[in-house]
Amino acid sequence: MRRILSSIRDGHGFDILLVAFPLGFLFLMAGLPLIYNAVMSFQEVDMFSLGTFSRPFVGLKNYRDLFAQPETWPILYNTLVFVVGSIAGQFLIGFGLALFFWVNFPGASWLRGLFLVSWVMPGLVVGAVWNWILSGDFGVLNFLLRESGIISGNIFWRSDPQYSLYAVIIANIWLGTAFNMILLSVGLSAIPGDLYEAAELDGANAWQRFWTITLPMMRSSIGAIIALGLIFTLQQFDLFAAITSGGPNNSSNVTQYWAWELSFRQYDFAKGATISVIMIVFVMFASVVYVRSTRHEVRG
């Protein structure tokens, strides 16, 4: 007894305690719901069996049914386009802005702070604002494009199946760029200045300095921001609800919105859970890649 106590105070017991506490917390708050969700995807669930655990198991039926639906593959493809498009846009513009403010002209840090306005706005508000900007008949974006001669007729961003997904991507890029910029700015300022001085003395030009110093030194920041971007885009729901509701004809529907639609619009909880499980698999895969890519990182 005493040995156990002393080990807890100072020894392996303490380590175990340290590990057990967050693990227990994670298991309770994230693990159990995840497991419950996975179990639900193998069951037949309706509104009236929601409150009980003993529901009939149906094996892989939910999965088979899901993939038999004609809209499943297009929606998975939309999700891919949305994730890749959003992350690429957010990252490239965010990185560009971070480099721009890194020049440190007068007022740079102030202006950089102001860019965060887009990030602190709630998704539904952003959605409502973009709803007006993207509106077909009286939208600001159409007005600008028309006046500058880029388009001749209005583009119905929200209602044309060819554009609807991109309408949401544009809004999402706007929403996430500032966050990318801030994290990347932090990464940039952590790079020691003498590295650049040395490189400059050795005659490296700006492009070479960027390519051989900035990018390699930013590796872990970039890895983190892309992993976070993946998480944020996969949980982006408000913009879909506010701008297109996944329409028209599912052309802008993505898995996260579809899961909600199935569960809480059609009360098909099992299918909603099934989609969530598929999403979990993808997120797991992405996080493994992320963890592996930053494991050998040595911070400069």
Binding site: D137, S159, I243, S245, G247, P248, N249, S251, Y267
Partner: protein
């Protein structure tokens, strides 16, 4: 010293209040009621009046958001914590009654002097029915009709007292009224991929001799073809496919659409915002003399079968129903009853509109009733959107919807 004195007085007062509270609770039957009505809407006010009667029944009110009504209610029922009374959207009524979650009120209604089935419009009444029994009482009702801008009719040489009567006339008039140079569309409506889309399309299908059980009837296909013509020729904004009725009618109010299909919930805003002469007409029919139909919206009262006080809960419903005649005056909602004449508001445009809506209500048909309504509705929404975006022909889209609905109906 003084602080102590206050503390003692305070404690005494508290004790007194809680004692009184306790004694009141011991006698009263307490009911819980859930609805989505906010302060200025019927439920909380009716409850206040009901509680003021001090008849031994107290109602506690809980506000739930529109999106949460069904899920909250289901979860509560499944875990044995359902309220005694709930207001539920009419297409979702059957979901509960078919599973025995709502109390069968047929016998109580038979013995009631206040609630009489013959007083109700057939549409709303049918929505509370399941298997020939009554599982609720209509709370209020609404429907859709055609709003039109009389000034624009005049400007385009159309007779402002002859709104379109048939689908062909509607399309014809819309063509004449559409004026891209002035940013004016002929018509505003909603074909959104949500319950609103079904709400707007189903009456057309029903007028064409279809219905949710045979959504691919020839008349229903014709209806969708008419919608497609309207969208393809840009007689209505392509954004109709992602816009709800409220936003669509907003473009009518601002003079960017010459006609709009929507319900009486627009009247208040329209009287304030629309700076032109407008009128309301019955929904156009496929051809002259064809059967009329319209959508039917709004909520129903129901009592959960798990209630411990069915008699008291029914008494509360009787009180609510007895106040139906003030529903429009106080809250701007239409009672679901044909025996109540709604007093004039003094605003001629509004009064004329009301008459049309009350006439239209006679033809209003419920969505369903069917316990799997959301799935049926989804199939219809998919068909509308597939056809209007040109990914399928109206016939193909409705055939596919019929197939999906058949699978649901079993």
């Amino acid at each position: 010293m003084t602080i102590r004195k206050f503390a003692v007085i305070g404690a005494l007062a508290l004790a007194g209040v809680s004692l009184m509270g306790l004694s009141a609770k011991a006698e009263d039957v307490t009911l819980t009621l859930w609805s989505l009505d906010k302060d200025i809407q019927p439920a909380p006010n009716l409850i206040k009046e009901f509680n003021a009667q001090n008849n031994g029944i107290k109602i506690e009110y809980r506000l739930i958001q529109f999106d949460d009504v069904v899920t909250e209610a289901m979860r509560a029922y499944a875990t044995g914590q359902a309220p005694d009374i709930i207001a539920v959207d009419n297409p979702e009524h059957a979901l509960f009654s078919s599973r025995g979650a709502f109390l069968d009120l047929t016998d109580m209604i038979k013995g009631s002097t206040v609630i009489k089935p013959e007083n109700y419009f057939p549409g709303p009444l049918k929505s509370v029915e399941w298997d020939g029994k009554y599982y609720g009482v209509p709370k209020a009702t609404n429907t859709i009709a055609l709003y039109y801008n009389k000034d624009m009719f005049k400007a385009k040489g159309l007779d402002p007292n002859k709104p379109p009567q048939t689908w062909d006339e509607l399309v014809e008039d819309a063509r004449k009224l559409t004026d891209p140079a002035k940013n004016v569309y002929g018509l505003a409506f909603s074909a959104k991929a949500s319950e609103e889309g079904t709400f707007q399309f189903l009456p057309w299908a029903q007028m064409g001799g279809g219905g949710y059980e045979h959504i691919n009837a020839d008349g229903a296909v014709k209806a969708l073809e008419t919608w497609k013509t309207i969208i393809d020729e840009k007689l209505a904004s392509p954004d109709s496919m992602t816009r709800g009725q409220w936003d669509s009618t907003g473009t009518f109010n601002s003079g960017n659409a010459a006609m709009a299909i929507s319900g009486p919930w627009e009247l208040e805003r329209m009287t304030q915002e629309a700076k032109f002469d407008w009128g309301v007409a019955l929904l156009p029919v496929p051809k002259e003399g064809a059967e009329r139909s319209s959508a039917m919206g709004d909520f129903n009262w129901a009592i959960f079968s798990s209630t411990k006080h069915p008699a008291e809960a029914f008494k509360a419903l009787e009180y609510f129903v007895s106040q139906d005649d003030k529903l429009f005056k106080n809250f701007g909602q239409l009672p679901a009853r044909s025996d109540i004449s709604i007093p004039e508001t003094g605003q001629p445009l509004k009064d004329a509109a009301l008459k049309v809506f009350l006439e239209q209500l006679k033809y209003a048909k419920p969505r369903g009733p069917h316990p799997q309504w959301p799935k049926i509705s989804k199939a219809i929404q998919d068909a509308i959107q597939a056809a209007l975006t040109g990914q399928m022909s109206p016939k193909e889209a409705l055939d596919q919807a019929a197939e999906k609905i058949k699978a649901v109906l079993g």
